[in-house]
């Protein structure tokens, strides 16, 4: 499904950068010595950006294989993702969502060999 990641300088740089992003986003309004007002346009954009980023990452992971549409309906990912989404809509529990999704995944992968 995915390539193996190897240690490299660029990977190390990526991880250090990600750590800095954690620090800088959490401290964005806490670190400056004077208080910054949050502009209205930024506040509005901020509302959608996390949702947009997560959805943009997740959608291709569910419906594409190597950049192509899933060729078969016997793909465990489709049913695991659908079961997870339905369970979340019903119970609104992230923990339960993982358990249900993985149960479907394992049943189809190990039981039916999909």
């Amino acid at each position: 499904m995915t390539a193996t990641l190897e240690w490299s300088w660029s990977l190390l740089l990526a991880l250090v950068g990600l750590g800095l992003i954690t620090l800088l986003t959490r401290g964005f309004f806490l670190l400056p010595d004077r208080e910054w007002p949050l502009p209205a346009w930024l506040r509005q954009g901020l509302r959608y950006a996390p949702l947009a980023a997560l959805t943009a990452v997740v959608a291709p992971e569910v419906v594409l294989t190597q950049g192509q549409w899933v060729a078969t309906l016997q793909d465990a990912r489709l049913y695991a993702a659908a079961a997870a989404a339905l369970f979340y809509a019903w119970q609104r529990s992230i923990l339960g969502t993982i358990v249900v999704g993985m149960a479907v995944m394992l049943a189809l992968r190990l039981g039916l060999g999909w």
Partner: protein
């Protein structure tokens, strides 16, 4: 950190620890899944351990996983993580009244450990946005449990994931977590539309080089969401997230 034993005796610190006990269970389960997902998405054990210790932001770790594995350029990886983490920027405006007066080095330490659950518990305990005695101790009490709960469970997940066959598809657990998080943010019509725009754009433009489909999808979804807000001034959509 000065006088660890004095800290442990501080009642506010202990209260911070106690309040975190229940939530830490959920954090630990999530850390376990994140650890497994990292290893089963192609990270070696050492890379996964370094990621967990350095990045310390579950949703950003999971969201950047397919990008790192797919060889996306650094700036796309960072831009995606920054977008996922933008909720912390908003939370930061609310930390400021409590901790804004402290020396910067102390604010820096606080900021790195200011995860979602610390925020939720702290705001419940101190609803009035003003400095009060015990606040810092309370914060560190929660962090003293939250951080190891996340890291140790991540390490356990990484070691466990290393022993589970890849064919089981446990790497997909990361996507399942993200599906739950997306669900928690879908609370108005404009958020649904923005998510649909992001999903369709990301899939249809997948052929773009350097994973630019992610950047394009984020831009399109944010624009559509903001445009919808301008047409219908609805209630604020808030991100309800856990890491």
């Amino acid at each position: 950190m000065e006088g660890a034993s004095a800290r442990w005796r501080d009642p506010a610190f202990r209260r911070g620890v106690q309040d975190m006990v229940g939530p830490a269970m959920g954090i630990a389960a999530w850390g376990l899944v994140t650890g497994v997902a990292m290893v089963k998405s192609g990270m070696s054990v050492s890379i996964a351990l370094a990621t967990s210790l350095l990045v310390f932001a579950g949703s950003a770790q999971l969201a950047t996983l397919p990008l790192l594995a797919g060889g996306a350029p650094l700036w796309v990886v960072w831009a995606t993580a920054a977008c996922v983490n933008l909720r912390f920027v908003i939370l930061g405006t609310q930390w400021r009244p409590y901790f804004g007066h402290l020396p910067r080095a102390r604010r820096l330490r606080l900021a790195y450990f200011a995860a979602d659950l610390n925020f939720v518990l702290f705001m419940k305990r101190y609803p009035r946005p003003e400095p009060a005695p015990g606040q810092e101790a309370y914060f560190w009490g929660g962090a003293a449990l939250n951080y190891p709960a996340w890291q140790l469970s991540s390490v356990a997940g990484i070691l466990l994931g290393d022993r589970v066959p890849t064919e089981w598809g446990l790497g997909f657990a990361g996507v399942l977590v993200l599906i739950g998080l997306i669900g928690s943010m879908l609370n108005t019509r404009s958020t649904w539309v923005a998510a649909a725009v992001a999903a369709v754009t990301a899939v249809l433009s997948y052929g773009l080089p350097y994973k630019l489909n992610i950047v394009l999808a984020i831009a399109a979804a944010v624009l559509v969401g903001v445009a919808m807000d301008h047409r219908t001034p609805a209630g604020a959509a808030t991100a309800d997230d856990r890491t």
